[in-house]
């Protein structure tokens, strides 16, 4: 009975009343709060009921804030609701949990008042007459004629169809295609919810419709919607929700369509590797992959990451005002990748930690055997970095992961290698996320270090871009940059990388020192000073001399410059990154800058960050 009651009305719980009372400094007993809650509920219902009268007399079918306020006014209650709007406020839901709320944006009045583009007055209310039906004849065909596919439906289904289209598309029946509604996030949202309910309906056999459902969901994930142009529109949530939905569809109905998984991955991959696409599409692809599970991330996102990274970096490093929006988008993508990767690593570590360690021998073999097509071939990778990998811990290097992966031609990357590479991108922000991991030393260092070293020598000066780029060069840059200012593309890092493990620790410590030294100058740029502190505290107990690292850092400056947006995180990973076979510079060149092609690059020199060299 109680539940039915609750379903019939909105209820305000005793707790809410108590909270509200507390917020105004009143302590309420339980009984009082209960009584009050019940009374408030009743009064709310009463006011709602009387406000519907005002709605009816205004000949509307939508209840507005004004109606409610009028009802309150006439029942001698102070009007409490704010101003309403003609358009309904977007009802948003929080991704996790069943929480819904009305979005209430702050409006900057100053900005509005000082705005130069004064909106034009709304057009005059006018009356237009047209002869609709001559002699009672005319277009008697009901509006909103249904598509032919629908006409074959039975009456019940037709009503169902009409209800659905009405619910999703609102009253205007001319909007029947998804594409035509891409300007309206709300409609897309409703569409997605409909898809969700379709998918969840246990009585529906979707069969081949899954494919079309998936395609419309993919549309929401990937398309650069018109609504994305306005930064106020929260298309990110839409994409997130669509991604969740996609995974839901996939897990529940994936078996209905063969090769669905493959197809989805392919299309996501395509988007991701297409640099012309806007960042929001990329974001969609990343969250889509993330939603599909860590294996998808591993297979698609990870291999592309290095290529994509440069792209993203360029965006993130652009500090020009005009780039602000794009950059914000870039951060979104960055965050999404980070989350995806984190989960990938965690899951992988988890999946690897269980299997027997027997596979350890295979590891090296597999590591070396392949790797042609990928930029950072795993074979080169694991220059065990004690600190960071330690966090992942537990002999995870022993197995070449992804054993159960169905994608034959794809070769899984061993975890440590993966981590190294990822670390090279994310630096400490990644490490910080794993900071709760096991002890530092747990990971046996340097097992494969020899081959690594050997390889490392190969690329020589030209390569090792990763080393350089991820270096804590920043500090170095700050110090010495004047020298390099005008000259892009200075000599790459000298083979200092040859210096191995020991060197690494040096670098790291040095960098930390530098970082702290120069932190004041950087405050504006770094996004996560907190994590930096954590990092320092956690790991750099014994700072060493900065000097040895210094020259090294200078060498790395060139690439590292691009990472400057995340400088605090990128303390020390010279070594792991250095192992990537493909010269970062080569792909860095290939990459068009996301969003605004080529532009950011030129800005470097002229901006007040001129100490950073253009690439």
């Amino acid at each position: 009975m109680a539940e039915r009651e609750e379903r019939r009305f909105a209820e305000i719980s005793r707790e809410s009343v108590k909270f509200m009372a507390e917020s105004s400094g009143v302590e309420l007993g339980d009984d009082v709060a209960t009584l009050l809650a019940e009374d408030v509920c009743y009064r709310l219902r009463e006011a709602t009921q009387s406000s519907s009268q005002f709605m009816r007399h205004a000949k509307r079918s939508k209840l507005t804030v004004e109606d409610f306020n009028r009802a309150l006014h006439w029942s001698n209650v102070e009007a409490i609701c704010g101003y309403g709007a003609q358009d309904s406020l977007p009802f948003r839901s929080v991704k996790e949990g069943e929480l819904f709320f009305v979005e209430d944006k702050d409006i900057n009045l100053v900005e509005l008042a000082l705005a130069t583009n004064i909106p034009k007055g709304c057009p005059e209310t006018m009356v237009r007459v047209n002869v609709s039906y001559l002699d009672g004849k005319g277009n008697v065909e009901p509006q909103g004629t249904v598509p032919s596919a629908v006409q074959s439906l039975s009456d019940d289904l037709l009503t169902y169809y009409q209800q659905i289209t009405r619910a999703i598309l609102g009253e205007d029946p001319h909007l029947m295609k998804v594409k035509s509604v891409s300007h309206d996030l709300e409609q897309l949202n409703r569409l997605l919810h409909m898809v969700k309910s379709l998918v969840q309906n246990p009585y529906l056999y979707l069969g081949s419709y899954v494919r079309s459902l998936v395609s419309s969901v993919m549309y929401c994930i990937l398309e650069p919607l018109a609504a994305s142009i306005n930064p106020l529109n929260d298309h990110w949530t839409l994409r997130d929700y669509a991604a969740l939905l996609l995974s839901h569809i996939f897990w529940t109905h994936g078996d209905l369509v063969s090769g669905l998984y493959h197809q989805i991955l392919l299309s996501l991959q395509k988007v991701l590797s297409d640099p012309v696409r806007p960042l929001c599409s990329h974001y969609g692809a990343v969250v889509g992959l993330h939603a599909l599970g860590w294996k998808a991330v591993e297979r698609v996102l990870f291999p592309h990451l290095s290529a994509y990274w440069a792209n993203l970096q360029a965006v993130l490093d652009d500090y020009s005002v005009s780039n602000a929006q794009v950059k914000a988008d870039g951060h979104k993508v960055y965050g999404a990748i980070l989350v995806a990767v984190e989960r990938l690593l965690k899951m992988k570590a988890q999946s690897l930690s269980q299997p027997a360690e027997a596979a350890s021998s295979t590891y090296a073999a597999s590591g070396f055997s392949h790797g042609g097509h990928r930029m950072s071939s795993p074979g080169l990778s694991p220059p065990t970095e004690p600190l960071s990998e330690g966090t992942l811990g537990i002999a995870s290097h022993l197995q070449a992961g992804g054993a159960g992966c169905p994608w034959e031609e794809w070769t899984p990357v061993p975890l440590p290698a993966m981590y190294c590479e990822l670390y090279s991108f994310f630096g400490d922000s990644l490490a910080v996320r794993f900071s709760t991991g096991p002890g530092l030393g747990s990971y046996p260092p340097c097992t494969p270090s020899h081959p690594v070293d050997a390889r490392k020598e190969l690329p020589g000066p030209t390569s090792n871009p990763d080393t350089t780029r991820k270096m804590p060069q920043l500090t170095a840059n700050l110090n010495i940059s004047p020298r390099h200012d005008g000259s892009p593309r200075t000599d790459p890092a000298p083979p200092s990388l040859a210096a191995t493990g020991s060197m690494r620790s040096l670098t790291r410590s040095s960098s930390s020192v530098h970082r702290s030294r120069s932190s004041s100058s950087r405050t504006g740029q770094c996004s996560a000073s907190l994590s930096r502190e954590v990092f320092t505290k956690a790991r750099f107990t014994s700072p060493q001399t900065a000097l040895p690292a210094f020259s090294f850092l200078i060498g790395g400056r060139q690439m590292g410059r691009r990472c400057q947006g995340r400088r605090p995180f990128q303390t020390a990973f010279a070594t792991p990154a250095s192992l990537t076979a493909v010269p970062s510079r080569s792909y860095a060149h290939k990459l068009p800058v996301i969003g605004r092609v080529g532009k950011p690059v030129h800005r470097w020199t002229c901006s007040h960050y001129s100490l950073h060299l253009p690439l």
């Binding site: 009651e5 009463e46 000949k59 509307r60 079918s61 209310t125 007459v129 047209n130």
Partner: protein, 756 residues
Amino acid sequence: MAAVQGGLVDAGAEKDIKSEQSTDGWANNNNTNDGRLLSASPGSNASTGSNSKTTAPVAAGDTEDQQTLLAVLQFLRKNKLSDSVEVLRREAGLPEDLLDTKSGDSSGTGSGGAAGSADTEAGDSSSLLSRVTISSSTAAPSPKKALSGGDQPDVSVVLSAYSQQGDPALYETYYSGLKKFIESVLDCHRAELSQLFYPLFVHMYLELVYNNHESEAKAFFEKFNGDQECYYQDDLRVLSSLTKKEHMRGNETLLDFRTSKFVLRISRDSYQLLKRHLQERQNNQIWNIIQEHLFIDIFDGMPRSKSQIDAMSGSLAGEAKREANKTKVYYGLLKEPEIELPLDDEDDEAENEEGKPKKKKPKKDSMGSKSKKQDPNAPSQNRIPLPELKDSDKLDKIMYMKEATKRIRLGPDNLPSVCFYTFLNAYQGLTAVDFTDDSSLLAGGFADSTVRVWSITPKKLCKVKSAADLNLIDKESDDVLERIMDEKTASESKVLYGHSGPVYSISFSPDRNYLLSSSEDGTARLWSLLTFTCLVGYKGHNYPVWDTHFSPHGYYFVSGGHDRVARLWATDHYQPLRIFSGHLADVTCTHFHPNSNYVATGSSDRTIRLWDVLNGNCVRIFTGHKGPIHALAFSPNGKFLASGATDGRVLLWDIGHGLMIGELKGHTDTIYALKCSRDGEILASGSMDNTVRLWDSMKAFDDLETDDFTAATGHIHLQDNSPELLLGTYMTKSTPVVHLHFTRRNLLLAAGAYNP
């Protein structure tokens, strides 16, 4: 023997009550209330609204309560509790002699004594209260017993029934017992008796709530809520939200329920059946409710069928009593003032217009084209004083007749053309529209408190010149009417500012000189369409005025609002001439009868009432709608009334007989506009569902006349012929239809705001 038994039973019940009382003082008081409220004899008007918790204040001023008190005092005295008697008497402020006489009267009744002897703890006056009143009620022949046919029920039964009233758990038993009975009776009676469910359900629920049995009330509601007719859902929703006694105060719907009797029409056979059952079961609880809160209109003859009942029920207070619709209504049209009319000659027109001022006395000659005899059903010409026709009115009449000759005869095969006036950019919210009768002006009321007037002919709207300028005009010139206009102010539309709330309704005066508007700010305003200024603000409603309407003869207008009354005004009086009070909820729409002698009002209580302007009486109550009524239209001959409501149905009423004669189903949303064509062949309805529908009203009315409806019983047999009567459905483009109007030549004009 009976008395002894009664005493035993009573004692058992008494113990129950006392154990409850001993737990806390509240229960004690509540029981006082229970007893007093429930045991009040059915015939008497118990003070059900009184919430006082102690006996002393109750006594003050209320005779019923005083009698109760006296009964208590008697009882105390009889048990030699003179101290208590003294205390109570002093508290209640009763004179000693009063008590003495009373006690002398009723001391002979044995039942009271028997009950009293069983009682051991007489000091507790509250526990006694119920019992003593019962004993007095059994002793005194109450109307209830008179109704039960002299079959004096056993005293013990009465007592036990009353003491059980305090037990909320039994409500369910009572109700389901009745339900079982009604379900078991013959089909023909079942439908009629099923009418009892809803009012009983509501009253039992309210009694539970009133007596603070919240959880029982909820359980009761949950259990039987599903049995009620679906058209009561709105009220049930209100009801279910109410679970506390405190909330009952101030809830108008419930006040209505408690104060007004729910009217049921039941055939004598069914009624006897019910009565017998209740007597057999000694189901006094239900019987009391029936006596107190229900009015059963018993008729002789065949029981009605389910569909017949459903057609008429649905209003807040049940059906109309048959007596309510017995008054004679003069629905005929007034004799048209006869004006000599040049029928075919164009030249004559101009001549005539000049000639008009020379007073062709209408009354005199009877050679008008339509030789009109006095309609036997028409009111006398001067039943209510109507304004004299002005010259301009006569001109207009001539124009009207000329147009009428060119009128298109409509019919099922000849549907009208529809012109749609779409309000564009009406962001502020279009709330009301009106056309002048000659279709030259269009006005819109908006939610932003403005009224806008448009000219829909090429002639622009001009203000009259200022007084100084007017002095300069040659008043003798032929075109003086043209000259007084200030051409500089000519524009297509004018905005009238003055209201301080949404304008819910507007109405043009028949002479096109005035415009009325009513608004949420509690006023109706009269605007001049010559100066485009506000002339009068009529204050009186004090609450939102939902609708206003000019009399077809001008001068009078009616308004109705949230205060549940409709008011009749004259434009030159700042106070209303009549107040039509009787609706149980907001008056949502008003309309004048074509002969100006009657006013129809529709209400949120889902009834339509027809009021006599002459004496302010309610002469018709029409029930049958299942939602608030938002549109009314009289047929041009004044015989019929059409009404549209939120339930999407149009109902047709015969005013003379006071009967429902048709139901037009088809709309899917609230009907906001209704209009009959000029000759009454077609009824057009416009709705929120973005359609205009045309109905064959001729057929609907004709069918009625061939039908032999039994006006005596008021039963109607509605055949479901909406599909046959529906002549056309016309879609708009996302534009709810707010107003409909037939031009004098029967072109249908519709208006609404585009609502993307």
